[in-house]
């Protein structure tokens, strides 16, 4: 399969997801959130860390769209800047999870035998440990800088990715075109990267989208417990944490960051589902 056809296949994939109502809604939300985070410096009416002691716990009104917090900081600006962290983290962790997981899964699928056995038993062992617990412990020990957070979350999501990558490669390798390529004497690695990989792409893209959603959940959970991004830096999780501490002083403090987290995760999950749905031949009818 040449690269042009696989590019065609992918634009086709996007078009077919866009054709579904849920697909369209989730892509729109993702774009809106990503753009608002990218251009936060221009859109946000205030500096996210600017204190305004005259206006603490201001309700959502006038120039403070989402109200202000215990130090008079503008919540709308803080939520937008928190989106930047979510965006960076989601990209970085999903990339790490995909790179590590795909290599892990491809090696297991390609070589089989005892290597496959060892690699997959390790995956099983990882999956037996609840993800959040593993993340909590690793972050507690390694520290809470953004690169470390991204690396740890990416590595935690890698084992499940490896399993998906392995099974998608295995199901392709059984198909006739792979047998044909082998018969023609094509080197195994060439078959893997030039023939099999483009066909597993859609499944892997769907997994990457889900990884991005999981990253946002894990980061927010960690920050909420106080082990993620530290205040005063605004991340969605730490904003919810502040809101939770000030629950009786203003509902908006917890409400708006929570809505952003929900929207982001829901639309990413739903996009992942839609991609898998499009791939499923049974969904044609």
């Amino acid at each position: 399969m040449s690269t042009e056809t696989s590019a065609l296949q992918q634009s086709n994939l996007l078009r077919r997801v866009w054709a579904k109502p849920y697909g369209r809604i989730s892509i729109t939300f993702i774009l809106l959130i990503a753009l608002s985070a990218l251009f936060a410096d221009w859109i946000a009416p205030f500096d996210p860390n600017e204190l305004d002691t005259e206006n603490i716990f201001s309700r959502p009104k006038g120039k403070h769209y989402f109200g202000t917090d215990d130090l008079g900081r503008d919540l709308f600006s803080r939520v937008l800047h928190g989106g930047q962290i979510a965006l960076i983290m989601a990209f970085a962790s999903a990339a790490i999870a995909m790179i590590v997981g795909v290599i892990w899964g491809f090696i297991a699928a390609q070589f089989g035998g005892w290597l496959d056995e060892i690699l997959m038993r390790t995956v099983d062992a990882f999956l037996a440990i609840p993800i959040i617990l593993l993340a909590l412990i690793l972050i507690a020990a390694l520290g809470t800088d953004i690169p470390i957070l991204a690396l740890v979350i990416g590595l935690i999501l890698a084992p499940a990715t490896a399993r998906i990558a392995r099974s998608s490669v295995l199901s392709e390798l059984q198909l006739d075109y792979c047998n044909a390529a082998t018969t023609l004497g094509t080197p195994r690695l060439r078959i893997l990267f030039r023939e099999v990989m483009p066909n597993t792409m859609p499944v892997l893209i769907a997994r990457a989208v889900i990884c991005a959603a999981d990253t946002i959940i894990i980061e927010a959970s960690l920050s909420f417990v106080g082990l993620g991004i530290n205040p005063p830096q605004a991340s969605w999780g730490s904003l919810v944490r502040t809101g939770y501490e000030q629950l009786f002083n203003g509902y908006w403090l917890v409400l708006f960051p929570a809505i952003f987290i929900l929207l982001a995760i829901w639309s990413l999950n739903s996009l992942g589902d839609q991609i898998l749905d499009v791939l499923d031949p049974r969904s044609e009818s």
Binding site: P130, L142, A220, V225, L247, I261
Partner: protein, 313 residues
Amino acid sequence: MRRLGTSVTMLFTASLLIFVVLRVLPGDPVTILLGPGNRGIGEEDIQEYRAKMGLDKPLLVQYFIWFSNFLRGDMGNSLFSNEPVRNMFSGHIMPTVQLTLAAIVLAIVFAISLALVGAIWPRSLVDRVVTFIASLGMAVPTFITAIILLLTFGIFWPILPTRGYIPFGEDPIGNLKLLTMPAITLAFAAMAPILRMLRASLAEASSSPWTRTAEGKGLLWNRIVLKHVFPNALIPSLTFVGITFGRMLGGAVLIEFIFAWPGIGTMMVDAIFKRDYAVLQATILFAAIASITVNFIVDLAYGFVDPRLRLKA
């Protein structure tokens, strides 16, 4: 028997993994224990302490000592209070067990009733609402559900106490009132995957030949769903209860923390902030063992319900 073998292998790999991961982490237990920069503690004292705790032995030996002690019920002592971790566990286990059991029962009841409603009136508005709830349940992190419940029933319409715990033995009604919000939160998270699976298998069973035969006989649709489709769809969903269990254990940690529920989760968050690795190691291994065991039991139950799936010995 083969399944037991798989579970035991998994148990060993998982425990080895936990041990290795926690040992590679920065933060030497001895230095933490004796306190950094303590005067009067020389290199010999540290060596002596290491020897006393068995930290000078090769890693693999340490692992076997740790794991075999764990299996015999000796989980080591807290690095902080020197209290046996086992005692700390027994002090915290009941609230967690109560919370998890309540949540799993609620989750199964919610999932089954919602899925049935969706299957009896397919493609209706109700069905769409159920689909939406399922996808929402997958997306909402537990701490957000918790906060939404807190806002609704604790502040806007204050009918439930927000945080705390009273043992059931002392005040059953007070205990149940406090249990309501954390249990619903955890149940909501646990329900979504079960509901999705159940819906998928209900849909598959609805389009099967024997459903068409039943329809052809002139049976009422909701009767067909209840008597024919549902029992068949239930079996594949059973596995998901097992898979969800691991997710629940993770979710329970945050939920206990939010609602000040003094279970294993609260103990763990506490240990994290104190960097008490002995407690952490024990907790995480306990969680892994619990989820492996539940999955094993579910596997067995699976073979019991559907004899076709029993592995040939």
